[in-house]
């Protein structure tokens, strides 16, 4: 009994700790990786590898000369056209394939096969058809990004609960209205996921196009600096492209919240 009485009053409860915001964790992670790369990268022969500070110097030099921005714009044009077309065509195509049994049976097989198509091997053929310029680059980006968008949309349609479609039917909605006003919004999260997945493939396609058709844009900087054993400069467009993909990805996330705000709310992600 005595030692209960003597026990000091309970310590005040520690103030509830707010969890670290996601961007802080991401920043810490990036800084740590860069530091490790900087530390160990310096021991490597500069022909075989590079490290952040060297790449940063190369970046400044390239940016000052104006070459980097010109190349970026040159690369982005076919990227935007090909990627944009892939969304414009892939989403309706996926909706139709997912919705109509006949379309699924007739076209589904090409979409599935197209996703696995070794596009690099077909580039020479595409060059014969479309030449070496802008058109073939846009086509390569288009073909690489079309299939993930289309397949995701298609899968999304097949995942729409049957009862929601029955709601449309019970109010005598025609097929076209059911597709536009029930299936399309119900599929949006899948569509957005497909569009995100396609970013990575579109970026890769863009560089492939610049390697194997007219050497141009950021791809040209990569090839030329690699040929000159200027590894640091070679890394500049590579890093730039990866940063660009991250930016595009968050932009798409933002668009997703704008067009499908209920999704984040339902999943309980609206607080973050």
């Amino acid at each position: 009994m005595a030692d209960i009485a003597e026990r000091s009053p309970p310590a005040p409860e520690p103030a509830a700790r707010r969890p670290l915001p996601a961007w802080v964790i991401t920043t810490i992670s990036v800084v740590a990786v860069l530091l490790l790369w900087q530390f160990f990268g310096r021991d490597i022969n500069p022909v075989f590898g590079s490290y952040p500070s060297e790449i940063a110097y190369a970046f400044v030099a390239l940016a000052r000369s104006g070459k980097l921005w010109a190349a970026l714009v040159e690369s982005l044009k076919p990227f935007a056209v090909g990627y944009g077309l892939a969304i414009l065509i892939g989403v309706p195509l996926g909706l139709v394939i997912g919705r109509f049994r006949v379309m699924e049976a007739a076209l589904g097989i090409y979409v599935t096969a197209g996703y696995a198509m070794p596009l690099v091997a077909l580039v020479p053929l595409l060059v014969l058809w479309l030449g070496l310029g802008f058109a073939v680059k846009a086509a390569i980006v288009f073909l690489m990004s079309l299939f993930p968008i289309c397949i995701n949309t298609w899968l999304g349609v097949t995942a729409v609960p049957k009862t929601l479609i029955e709601v449309g039917k019970s109010f005598v909605a025609p097929d076209s209205v059911i597709l536009r006003r029930i299936i399309l919004p119900a599929t949006l999260p899948y569509i957005m996921a497909g569009i995100r997945l396609a970013v990575g493939r579109a970026v890769v396609a863009m560089v492939i196009a610049e390697f194997f058709t007219t050497i141009s844009g950021l791809g040209a900087i990569i090839i030329n600096s690699a040929n000159n054993f200027d590894t640091a400069t070679m890394f500049v467009p590579i890093v730039l492209l990866m940063v660009m993909a991250i930016g595009l990805n968050s932009l798409i996330g933002l668009v997703e919240r704008l067009v499908a705000p209920w999704q984040a709310e339902i999943a309980g992600r609206d607080q973050s």
Binding site: T163, L164, E166, V167, G168, K169, S170, F171, V172, A173, V177, R181, I182, P185, A186, L188, A260, W262, E265, I266
Partner: protein
């Protein structure tokens, strides 16, 4: 007017189980009429075909034989003469409560100010005036089903078809909803076909009860409870309720096959 009849309705499903195909007789010669302004409960154990019968009445499924008539005219497929209330409300998650009510009205061709006002009127009727801007995930189970009822009522159907509408709600909410349905019925005088597996509910809401077992009608019973039934708690205490409940229970268990 609003009278719905099922006439000799049969339904067969073909199921594939492994390599064998099995034909299941979901409904055999089911015939009954819900008269104008009447509420009829369709009750039976799960798998007895009650939901199938309702879905055929709505036009979401087709009968293998027999027909469905509304006011004597045979109907094929869905129509605005029938309004469906789904088991889990099935609101469109990307629309607000009011937009969900407006959906059916828009399908019916209503536009402009009339559209908004009609939707507001029916939200008002189910007591959701203040929640019209909420999306389904911001509504409780009972509120969701109220929107579902408003959506079906808004198109002003002759018949309301309700598929276990309160089955997924907790007991207290269910009782509130039953009373609200009674009030709605007093005001709108809609003909209602009400599918349920809850014995008490079947007796409390209905004028007549169709008891189904294994795809057939076992018995059709009258409920001698008077209307209006404002307070269902009081109705529960009456001898008529207890007697009817027992009769339905007996019909459900009559010459019950030995437990298998």
């Amino acid at each position: 007017m609003g009278e719905v009849s099922l006439v000799d309705v049969s339904k067969r499903f073909t199921l594939r189980i492994g390599r064998e195909t099995q034909t299941i007789q979901a409904l055999s010669d089911v015939s009954f009429t819900v008269r104008d302004g009447e509420i009829v409960s369709l009750i039976g154990p799960s798998g007895c075909g009650k939901t199938t019968a309702l879905r055929i009445a709505m036009g979401l499924e087709t009968a293998s034989r027999g027909r469905v008539t509304v006011d004597g005219r045979e109907v094929k497929g869905c129509g605005y003469d029938r309004g469906m209330v789904f088991q889990h409300a099935e609101l469109l998650p990307w629309l607000t409560a009011r937009q969900n009510v407006m959906f059916g009205l828009e399908m019916k061709g209503m536009r402009g100010a009339e559209l908004r006002e009609t939707a507001n009127h029916y939200l008002d009727l189910v007591g959701l005036t203040d929640s019209h801007n909420r999306r389904p995930h911001q509504l409780s189970g009972g509120m969701k089903q109220r929107v579902g009822i408003a959506r079906a009522l808004a198109i002003d159907p002759k018949v309301l078809l309700m598929d276990e509408p309160f089955g997924a709600l907790d007991a207290q909410t269910r009782e509130t909803m039953q009373e609200e349905l009674m009030q709605l019925h007093e005001r709108t005088r809609k003909t209602i076909l009400f599918v349920t597996h809850d014995l008490d509910e079947a007796v409390l809401v209905a004028d007549r009860i169709v008891v189904m077992r294994e795809g057939r009608i076992q018995e059709i019973l009258k409920v001698p409870l008077p209307r209006p039934r404002g307070d269902l708690g009081i109705a529960r205490g009456t001898k008529e309720f207890t007697d009817t409940r027992y009769r339905v229970w007996k019909a459900l268990h009559a010459d019950a096959p030995t437990v298998h």
